[in-house]
Amino acid sequence: MFTSKTARGTLPTRKRAAAFTAGAAITALLLSGCVQSQREEDGGAGGEGEVDSTFVFAASSDPASLDPAFASDGESFRVSRQIFEGLVGVEPGTADPAPLLAESWETSEDGLSTTFQLKEGVTFHDGTDFNAEAVCFNFDRWYNFTGLAQAPSVSYYYNNLFRGFADSPEAAVYESCEVNGDLEATVTLAKPFAGFVPALSLPAFSMQSPTALEEFNADDIGGSSEAPQLSEYAQGNPVGTGPFKFDSWNVGEDLTISAYEEYWGEQGDVQQVIFRIIDDPQARTQALQAGTIDGFDLVSPADIPVLEEEGFMIVPRDPFTILYLGINHAVEELSDPLVRQAIHHAIDKQALIDQTLPEGTQLATQFIPDVVDGYNEDVTTYEYDPERAKELLAEAGYPDGFEVEFNYPTDVSRPYMPTPEQVFTNISAQLEEVGITVTPAPDVWTPDYLDRIQGTEDHGIHLLGWTGDYNDTDNFIGVFFGQEKMEFGFDNPELFEALSEARGMTDREEQTAMYEEINQQIAEFNPAIPLAHPAPSLAFAPRVDSYPASPVNDEVFNMIELNE
């Protein structure tokens, strides 16, 4: 052994040294090459005062479908809003309906038929004219969905708002669409639906090119037995009238759209948008810091001060959300109104907001944000008063408090609840103060948590919420309290009936008054505790001057202003 060691001699050592030196030199070269190319990229983007017209936005996932009629997720709609337009748009910065492809509309007295006057000179990206025929084609298309296209997971909004299809006309809200001339169409409903016009501002009801829908078999979503398969149209041929037309979709990586030259409206600074798919929230923040993206949505509250300090722009949206503490009335203690009142008085909502929710979050007194019709300024409130809470508990027969299971989700960040664990910790501490002992019951968001809350009776108090889709009160309180649900476990026929009646009203003013009453009714019944209306925020690179933030996410990128 010893001999062999010395026998190795010195030459190989020198060779090795040479090899190491060469290796080090190559590594250094490679790295300097990287630095060089990075510099070139940076330099190239700036260019002599010209604005770089490509805007890179990080999406949290691929769109579920490029056909908005078959989508209900935020990322699909973010892309649809660039490519498509509906008859009805949204007043910038609000949740109120505004003219878009329809310049005006008039609803008959019985509330059943609405006549739309259409904008002139609008063409789809494939050259097809936008006219009354195209409008009726789209309405009839939705009504005539069959098979899997009728699944609530596929055509969610049509299902939810128009209720029935051509093969189940008894349930259907829609009846027919009539072409009165090139630029006038009348849509007739079978049942009154006061939310009809505002609902049309949803991307799901965008106007799509009849030519392209037919050519690329948009309704052909047969697929295999287990799941609907995206049509050729929904995978790569969406055609609308919006400011951007579809270019390419590299599934899982990026989706590119570019300015439509014949667009009837304003063309802005942005000529090309690349949506990069980055599903990890942390990775999105880092991508912005590294300069590979220009902006992203749903900034985590903890990152906001850091990003602001580094010179990034934070844009909060006006809240259109609700975070509530759900209460399961099937649990004996919780079915007692006194106990529910005690819980309400035990919670310091302002402290919760200051400590766990993003800036711009508003305190909730009811289950709708103040921009939604039917918001009641004078609703019964339950001020933070731990002493009163203890008294109420004693009055209810629990002078020493009681024990309750507290369900909350993990591994999830929702627009109305960026950090569920923190909200849970905060509320738990407050409840313990008044003597309510909390048993933590964390579950993974999907499917465990949602399944347990919505599909079983096995839960106590829980955290959940909602992000509104458009200015529709029923879209908030109707969803929560419109029927008996396992989530809340109560049966309140009076409330169910009132909500059902309000939904069917044709006069918007009367309806608003009724919703104000219902909000008071809910506040008195106190079925669950509205906590806050959290404001989701976006973050942008310094080269972005302004971004058209909208409470209902109606954000079209031709309105973005860039400075370099």
Binding site: V35, S224, A227, P228, G252, I274, A287, T292, D411, P447
Partner: protein, 334 residues
């Protein structure tokens, strides 16, 4: 030789069949179901029931199984519930990414691991040896996602010399036809695209390659230590063979057998490492896709994926066995 390969492949059939039954039952016994995942907060009991009915999840399990197998035998892995695309198509677009990443990780792990392990053994008890042992210990114990995060923070954000995420800069607008981006760039002559794609592979490749690297160092070191004291090495030296010959033909070659086995095993394990690495680097491979499929209970994807991985493992094992016969003539004789 061919007979051995044939036999191996034939054995794969019952294995896959058994696996398919187990998988089918396991995936369906998970709590909840895809309907809840699909509908989110909007999962009212009626909506869930309607989805289950339309998608066929309310059918008896046996019937679901036969439908599934019938399609599978025709090469149809079904459609992803979440993305609405055929499972095979999803794999086809993502697998090249993971292969590219794994190749870089393996080149890194083998290219450094074997020489380092060898050097450590030759300088047993010296600084190089201690250094490599400590380094490999760190390599094994440090969690992949943590390392990935640190690498990214240092080399993409603090000193931005490498891209932080993705497979390629989307502004390049490169042509893709094999979906191996580096290869695509070279084949189409878009060298800037190939270089860009390669740069995107460096950080995740290093992160993913660290554990295999550490393991390869240890195994190589141990194996060389054992072999270099073997009788036949002493005999070779006594015969006066050149040191170079002794090292390459006697020590290294014999020491490589356990190392090859390890590399085979590690290649399979790279997939699980890829789940974490790909998430941190927003790298669109099979790993990040699988993570989503698990969270959203995408049955067809989970089933297809696991069958796919089983085939992959079997193939890797086969390659390892074949490489034995090349390295070690004794195996050939048996």
């Amino acid at each position: 030789m061919l007979r051995v390969i044939g036999k191996r492949l034939a054995l794969l059939i019952p294995t896959l069949f058994g696996l398919s039954v187990l998988l089918f039952l396991w995936v369906r016994s998970l709590p909840g179901g895809p309907a809840t995942a699909l509908l989110g907060e909007r999962a009212t009991p009626e909506a869930v029931a309607r989805v289950n009915e339309l998608y066929g999840f309310d059918q008896p399990l046996l019937l679901q199984y036969f439908t599934y197998m019938g399609k599978l035998l025709q090469g149809d892995f079904g459609t992803s519930i979440i993305t609405g695309r055929p499972v095979l198509q999803e794999f086809a677009t993502r697998f090249p990414a993971t292969i590219e990443l794994s190749v870089v990780a393996l080149i890194f792990a083998i290219g450094i691991g074997i020489p380092l392990g060898y050097l450590a053994a030759r300088h047993y008890g010296k600084v190089v040896d201690h250094g490599s042992v400590v380094l490999s210990l760190i390599g094994i114990t440090i969690p992949v996602f943590f390392l990935a995060f640190i690498l990214k923070y240092l080399f993409a954000i603090q000193w931005p010399i490498l891209p932080p995420d993705g497979r390629q800069n989307p502004r390049i607008n490169a042509t893709h036809f094999t979906d191996f981006y580096v290869l695509d760039g070279i084949l189409t002559g878009e060298y800037d695209a190939a270089w860009d794609a390669f740069q995107h592979l460096i950080l995740p490749g290093l992160a993913l390659g660290t554990i295999p690297l550490a393991i390869i160092v240890r195994i190589t070191r141990a194996s060389v230590l054992e072999v270099q004291n073997a009788d036949y090495v002493r005999t070779a030296r006594a015969k006066g063979l050149m040191e170079k010959t002794i090292r390459s033909r006697f020590i290294l070659r014999n020491a490589m057998l356990p190392v090859v086995t390890t590399i085979g095993l590690q290649t399979g394990l790279l997939i699980s490492g890829a789940v974490l690495t790909e998430t941190v680097f927003a790298f669109n491979g099979i790993g990040s896709f699988l993570r989503d499929a698990i969270f959203e209970l995408d049955y067809p994807v989970l089933q297809g994926f696991i069958i796919f991985i089983a085939i992959l493992y079997a193939l890797i094992n086969l390659i390892v066995d074949i490489s034995y016969t090349i390295i070690d003539p004794r195996v050939r004789v048996q």
